[in-house]
Symmetry: C2
Subunit: 112 residues, 2 copies
Amino acid sequence: MARPAKRKKLSDRGLQLVARRFKVLSEPARLKLLMALEHGEQHVTALIELTDLTQGNVSKHLGILMDVGMVDRRKQGLNAFYFISDPQILDLCELMCSKLEAEFSKDSAHFR
Amino acid sequence: MARPAKRKKLSDRGLQLVARRFKVLSEPARLKLLMALEHGEQHVTALIELTDLTQGNVSKHLGILMDVGMVDRRKQGLNAFYFISDPQILDLCELMCSKLEAEFSKDSAHFR
DNA sequence: GCACTGTATCACGATATGGTAGTATAGTCA
DNA sequence: TGACTATACTACCATATCGTGATACAGTGC
């Protein structure tokens, strides 16, 4: 049962930093934005339409995603094109997704 | 740049569920508890000592972790032994950890 | 310069959540 | 049964964060 000790114990500070990253992913609006950027860059107006979020809201969440380096932006004239700067983030989401999928399908099997 | 579309677009409900899972991991206290359980079950009193959290606090967070099925418990006499019921969770944490580690070491390299 | 568009920011109310202290409950032992 | 221990639960306050509406700012074209 016990796992091998791959990693030395994380300090409180380390835990805090990790927790902070997870927190960024703990908001549906931000996940939605990441999904919308999954296949390439988008400018803000497009993101507003893709996500059904308000302009201020999109801007705020993009700011948060940029703060932690998950996305970055490229300005061009009036437009700001956002893109995922850390593709590994998508792997994390993917992993969580498949976990949930597996769980739910397992649970639902109990009723079939 | 663009990723292959491995997964069909997640519904709002799906996003909400994924976000909720990430939220559970977005709290240092809960990460600390998961770490403390990484190598095997522990009873609550041991967890209190391992984590330096108060009893009520430990109990509350363990409840949250149990609600989403990340840990489970086995009662034995007066003691409650908690254990990780979904080891994949540790992989997720591990992944986030190494990401951070890589990021920071990359950033710090700019000053060497 | 002026009007317009796209984006960022600010202020604010509402809600959610963490920590704590206190209390309740259940198992144990004399 | 009664005292004791281990754990769970409740009520509360403090803080953080979301969404929104209003406003500011920057780039473009006339």
